[in-house]
Subunit: 214 residues, 2 copies
DNA sequence: GTCTATAATCTGATAGAC
DNA sequence: GTCTATCAGATTATAGAC
């Protein structure tokens, strides 16, 4: 989990250790002592960098929010990027990969913290609703509209289709995280992710035989 | 949350209080003392009914497993029930409602405990994978096959469609739970649930011109 | 900024009277 | 089966030396 302990400030090392522990043991299942031990300092030293345990979580959430906001706003210049594709499936997958690349480090374990705490902490609940549902629906709507307006997919209810896609993606993401913990290989799960997204977008093609118009 | 405290055994009241607290505050966020206080006894009395805190969780998980197993096995006689429907959407919704009716009390808050702890506790992770993904996929496959074999939906990849449906349902369920906590009315959320499922099944019709109705 | 020392409280769990 | 009393350890956090 260490990405270079020695070159980081104590504050950043505390931050990193907290992200690691909160995501794997839960917020309430992690003590200040454990964080301090992982960093290699005494627990009292942590209070020189953060106001307390909740203050660390607060900093993590702010970091996540800022990272997501930046990645989302850079998404607005994505239209230029999209023009390089004539295949809807390839475009869709490429846009997804591009967005993920814009996200800062620790986004993955932090999103796991959010899921862990979404029913327990109001801030986490709000973040999950916004970053995993509301914002994703909007992004999916925009991409679908782009594809439809260029005749790359058939006419369909953009709103409802985006909703279905986002729910599907979230269910898929959670199962993939659980399967990874069960020992399934990242390659296998990545393939399953791609296949499932591919199947969804293929179903929107204009002349697909399987879901086409009779 | 009380469904009749006075007529229940102490053990059952402890069980009920633990389900309530574990689901709303998390397992690690709940103490034996809080459970005892909610029941109205001293914490030491709890050890006359359960071996300890983890023993209570263990009992909750066993109760959930048994309830799910019973409901699932009763699902095998569902085919007779299905024959009363000629509309795929109505059949689908009715089967879902019928299955939920077979589930015992506390299933809803217990499933919330499972989601809370799925990344932290191996037993919860396994239960989520089985009851919310694996078993649901199988059930969806069976229903889809029934519909296809009777010509009520068009030919499609049963396996992939079931997978998409289950992921969609889980994403939808989580968002609905979060929205409920945000103050959205159960009626509104129930309507959204129905609409979203309806849209999915409508998209499988033989002669759908679009991907759904409005 | 780090440490030692310590406060004040909470934790799960046990022993034994009734 | 419930209670009181108690334990040993963990918890977050602070005070003050260096």
């Amino acid at each position: 989990m260490n990405t270079g302990d020695d070159h980081m400030s104590t504050r950043d090392r505390i931050f990193e250790a907290a992200v690691d522990l909160f995501s794997t043991r839960g917020y309430h299942g992690t003590s200040i002592r454990e964080i301090a031990r992982e960093v290699g300092i005494k627990e009292s030293s942590i209070y020189n960098h953060f106001p307390g345990k909740d203050g660390i979580l607060e900093a993590i959430l702010e970091y996540y929010q800022e990272g997501f906001r930046t990645a989302t706003s850079s998404l607005e210049e994505m239209e230029e990027f999209m023009k390089g594709f004539s295949e809807p499936v390839e475009l869709w997958l490429a846009v997804g990969v591009e967005f993920i690349k814009k996200l800062p480090p620790y986004t993955e374990p932090i999103s796991r913290i959010l899921i862990n705490e979404m029913f327990l902490d109001e801030r986490c609940r709000r973040f999950v609703l916004h970053t995993m549902f509301t914002a994703q629906k909007e992004a999916a709507e925009n991409s679908l509209r782009y594809l439809r307006d260029r005749g790359l997919i058939r006419d369909c209810d953009i709103r409802q289709t985006a909703v279905q896609y986002v729910y599907m993606l979230q269910g898929l993401d959670i199962e993939n995280r659980l399967m990874r913990m069960e020992g399934h290989s990242p390659e296998e799960l990545q393939q399953h992710l791609m296949d499932t997204i591919r199947f969804f977008i293929e179903g929107l093609r204009k002349n697909n035989t399987e879901r086409g118009i009779k």
